[in-house]
Symmetry: C2
Subunit: 354 residues, 2 copies
């Protein structure tokens, strides 16, 4: 059962314990094209596991012609590719929902863009020889724990055709350096365009299976359902979203912003897992105007945007919303669901102009 | 006015906004002698400032014979020293207090140990020639914001004799690499033994002053007071503390631990800013026994400890507490104060043995 809480009742200590371990990227981090590794958002379902690179092996098996076992050196010797990828947690924005589903209480910061280096998964699957009848590729991590009374290794799957995309990588470097433990050392999966739960960290096994994978993280979590009776659509690709770097200076305790009157540059990033960014609009109180889009950084990375705001004294509400190339636009009313997934409600920034 | 909240009323959204930006070190990170940079705790008072290393200058002035200006290259050309230092936020443990002072709501995780590389501050102060009559050395960071209605650059001071200690460094590398932006790039102060508020990030100015520094972060914050009328003693050195890596596996939502019966290794770290660690005790329910101390890593870094626990089925409360070489021991009752500073109450870990 997912617990729902009236926001007026505050955040629980269980949620705080998750918020203290997991971490968002402070939004001013959007000033960097590539997020420094230590600023990238991080969600760890259970504990960061202790990994020994020399003992680590990747097992590739299941419905394949010949099971494969790879050492880290063997994986690193394979063809390498580096891609900038924007990752977002599927639960980003959960703590802004009313009523609020109790889980990791993200506000807006569960984002980051890194340059990931690894070897394409499809090369390894081709070496193993995926047999006909394969439906899903299942990925198992070394992290283990309990969720909803079920003890489990962390497991997520991809439909075979998604797993075979050229840009799906088994990654051993982030921003040109070996992964740090919390980002999946020694090897993790990166699935560009999908929410972060798919990019399994501390990868130990890859299995081809002939039925749709029905593990806990597919059937009890990461679903867009309205109530406990409804299974709901699975969470897959990242919904269109823009975020701005809050302008001016903050108050320590409230994080409210203070800005000097006059021309104020506003900038941020926008991204989408299914297509490109077509438009970013900035709202000042109830007026919306178009921001200028920067050159794309790549098919799977966020896109910069900027505009100037003529700030007049008083209290103002700044918002931003993006539209993707397929015409999907961020909502101004909450897209509520039971697990608090994929909430791409437009950001709101309260500013006092002096 | 510091707001106090009954823990039963939950955490406020303002506190959550701080918890989402700032971050603790997941306690399993204590398995590493040196904390990976991206796992180290982080508290940023306002925003991470945009810094340009080529334009950066360090100004050293005030009550000195000859003001000094240094570029980053000049700073890096000076004698270098690398020291492992355990840092802890003075507010660590604040969210465990009853009533709870509203500020960054740390539970236990505001800790980390890094190898910091930089040049001793006393060499630079000697070059500038600190004049007689100097009381404090004031450090100014590039981070700016509002706290308690006062707009301010972040500033902290050290008494001259503390500033002249050989191990007080102006640091440009963390764990052998240039500082990441969030840790104070390009240069920060590191004051071994003191709580983290002293180790000013994004350093821009150092000034010798002839009166005790009375800036906001000394007079309105970082004080051990019991009420608004009392100024209280300043927060300075880190109080003795031990923490354990919670054993077994966690439940996702509650973070409660599940352990298999039998011999369970328990390990953790202990540290103190004023002397060495003399003893670590582990409590199982109401029985306490001594842990074995590992070899010290250095005068300013945490010390490992371990023991075996014969875990019997049922619910158990694990605790740990350290005693320093001066006989100070962690309390089992909360050491409450108005700003929630230096709360070194013994850690409690609830475990179900199966």
């Amino acid at each position: 059962m997912t617990e729902l809480i009236d926001p007026a009742d505050g955040i629980t200590y269980d949620e705080l314990a998750l918020a203290t371990r997991n971490r968002g990227m402070p939004l001013e981090g959007m000033r960097y094209d590539i997020t420094p590794a230590g600023m990238h958002y991080l969600l760890v379902h259970w504990d960061i596991p202790a990994m020994d690179a020399s003992a680590w092996r990747l097992q590739v098996g299941g419905n394949v012609r010949a099971a494969v076992e790879l050492t880290l050196d063997e994986l690193r010797a394979r063809p390498a590719r580096t891609i900038p990828v924007t990752m977002e947690c599927a639960g980003n924005g959960r703590a802004r929902l009313d009523p609020r589903p109790v889980s990791q209480p993200w506000l807006l910061e569960a984002i980051g863009t890194a340059e990931w280096t690894g070897t394409p998964l499809n090369g390894i699957l081709n070496d193993a020889g995926v047999e006909p009848g394969t439906v899903d590729i299942v990925f198992t991590g070394a992290d283990r724990g309990i969720q909803g009374d079920v003890e489990q290794d962390y497991q997520r799957a991809l439909p075979l055709e998604e797993a075979m995309r050229d840009e799906v990588l088994l990654v051993y470097e982030m921003n040109g350096r070996a992964l740090e433990p919390q980002h999946g050392f020694p090897v993790r999966l990166i699935v560009p365009g999908w929410y972060g739960m798919t990019s399994v960290k501390w990868l130990t096994r890859i299995d081809a299976v002939t039925e749709e994978f029905a593990g806990y993280q597919h059937t009890h979590s990461y679903r867009l359902s309205q109530n406990e009776e409804e299974l709901g659509e699975p969470v897959t690709r990242i919904r269109v979203r823009a975020l701005m770097i809050p302008p001016g200076i903050p108050d320590f305790m409230t994080r409210k912003r203070f800005v000097e009157r006059g021309t104020v540059p506003i900038e941020g990033r926008a991204w989408c897992g299914t297509s490109g960014i077509a438009r970013v609009e900035v709202g000042v109180d109830d007026d919306w105007f178009d921001a200028t889009l920067a050159k794309p950084m790549g098919a799977w990375a966020w896109r910069g945007w900027s505009c100037d705001w003529d700030a007049t004294p008083g209290e103002h509400l700044l918002r931003c919303r993006a539209t993707d190339e397929e015409g999907n636009q961020q909502p101004l009313e909450q897209p509520w669901n039971l697990h608090g997934m994929a909430n791409n409600l437009a950001q709101e920034v309260h500013v006092t102009v002096r």
